[in-house]
Amino acid sequence: MIETSLKTQTGTGVAAPAPPLVVEHVAKSYELDGGGIVPVIGDLSLTLREGEIVSIVGPSGCGKTTLLNTLCGLLAPDAGRIRWHGREVAGQPQNVGYMLQKDLLLPWRTALGNTMLGLEIRGMPWAQAEDRCRAMLDQLGLHGFADHYPTTLSGGMRQRVALARTLVNEPDVLLLDEPFAALDFQSKLLIENDTVGLVRQGRRSLLLITHDIEEAVSLADRVIVLSKRPTQIKAVYDIALGADRHDVISVRQAPGFSDHVRSIWADLDVVLQ
């Protein structure tokens, strides 16, 4: 343990540095007001490697959001260990970006102001933060909308601002909880593509929770299927599609894509009708 953290700090060890996120035997339950206990996460272990995109799918209510909130320190696990870059942290880990289906934009801040939130909290000088944020908004196709208030933006644009707010802090790891679920198919494909591009280009790691199996397969290097509550890992798929993994649209045409989608469907035990 000590050895690993030393290597992470110096980065000169012969062995590879510790992966950005290691989860070991985490369990989490909620206490109900009436005194009952709902076990949500049974026993869960996973590793997120550098530059890797992992999707998590699972039945509704199985505890995906709970897992994400536990990982980023918003909830305390009942058991198990969560190590970021080899170290257990108290409170919120640093350099982790967090994004939900709700864009959570502050209505009193413009697109630029919302994007600046993280840098402002860290105390970056204003002019420098503004330059970086404007560049990030431009990169995400929001050129000319920096000074708009969220209420005057479309749903897709708002989610792009939320993405800019997350990425501008240059997180090593992104934890996204159904970030594109509320978008129409076209906006979704485009913003997925931009996200994957920026994540792969920066060699960041991404943990993506989604209900959309095609999204999971087209973006990820690995798909983890969770079981019903109390949740455990039911299956893991390595997605080796051989295609250009920067392009989530052409991947959908790759041979093997639909096989993956079908077997994950089968794992989820979705009873139709």
């Binding site: 909130n69 919120q92 709700k102 502050l106 801040r109 005057t152």
Partner: protein, 288 residues
């Protein structure tokens, strides 16, 4: 008014009877349309008011007893102009206005400050809650005699009455605003590394502004009532004093004249609060 509307230059944009490609509405056209609907509301309000005053004047003109009991618009106007002439209208209104403004300001500052800072500690807010409810249920008028004993019969006692009428409402509305903040938004700021104070300053305070301003608008009236009740108890000037004096002498039109000044004061203060709200919350304006 109708002729005015027909002659409107931008009505061509609204009323396109000829078939052709729809023309995009100019921003000038939009502004005109908005102005026109505001004007329509205003004109309707004036018509209703004029009708009411005419009815009042007519009914009291028929009957001497009714004129004594209910006053009449013309008599009220006579007293108003007399009060303008002898300077008492301005003096009374400015005295009451000052008391109200001070009470409004102090009460809202204290109430909002406490209400917002209760967000900081769930423990403290739970401790404080029953006391707030108890204080809120005291009729302020019942405190007036004590206030006069404590603060005398001058300006301070009226400001104290006004402050007391405002402070609990301001506290409750701002606390409601602060605790109503979306927990996901708080979580987001936490993952961005914000300290509790940063969450307070960057999220809780601005998110509570809407509720705070709702409280401000509500408490304009309360502040005014507090000041006037204070003047009822003991005073030598102010609108409450004028109302009390005229009432005890059965000069009913003069009571109404002072009431007109009171209403004007309330409207003015409400208007000012609305303007400040627009200035402080520009994102709401762009929404429309």
């Amino acid at each position: 008014m109708t002729a005015d509307v027909d002659a409107a230059p931008a009505s061509s944009a609204a009323a396109q009877t000829t078939i052709g490609p729809a023309r995009p509405m100019t921003s000038q056209g939009r502004r005109w349309l908005r102005l026109r609907s505001t004007l329509a509301v205003l004109v309707t309000q004036l018509v209703v008011l004029a009708g009411f005053l005419a009815f009042w004047e007519f009914m009291t003109g028929q009957n001497k007893a009714a004129a004594f009991m209910f006053g009449s618009p013309s008599a009220i106007f006579k007293f108003l102009s007399q009060m303008v002439y002898d300077g008492s209208l301005w003096r009374d209104t400015s005295v009451t206005g000052l008391e109200t403004l001070l009470g409004f300001f102090v009460g809202n500052c204290i109430g909002t400050l406490i209400g917002l800072s209760l967000w900081y500690s769930r423990f403290v807010s739970r401790v404080v809650e029953p006391f707030v409810i108890a204080l809120g249920s005291i009729p302020i008028i019942a405190l007036a005699p004590i206030i006069i004993i404590w603060f005398g019969t001058g300006l301070i006692s009226k400001v104290a009455m006004s402050t007391l009428s405002v402070v609990i409402v301001a506290l409750v509305t701002s606390y409601k605003g602060a605790t109503g903040v979306d927990p996901d938004q708080i979580n987001l700021l936490r993952t961005l590394g914000a300290s509790k104070f940063q969450i307070f300053r960057k999220l809780v305070v601005p998110a509570s502004l809407a509720d705070i301003f709702a409280g401000l608008k509500l408490t304009v009236g309360f502040a005014l009532i507090g000041a006037i009740v204070g003047e009822f108890m003991s005073s030598s000037e102010g609108l409450g004093h004028a109302i009390f004096k005229a009432g005890s002498l059965y000069i009913i039109p003069k009571v109404f004249a002072a009431l007109v000044a009171t209403i004007a004061l309330a409207l003015l203060l409400t208007f000012a609060v609305g303007k400040i709200e627009q200035l402080l919350m520009p994102w709401r304006r762009q929404q429309r």
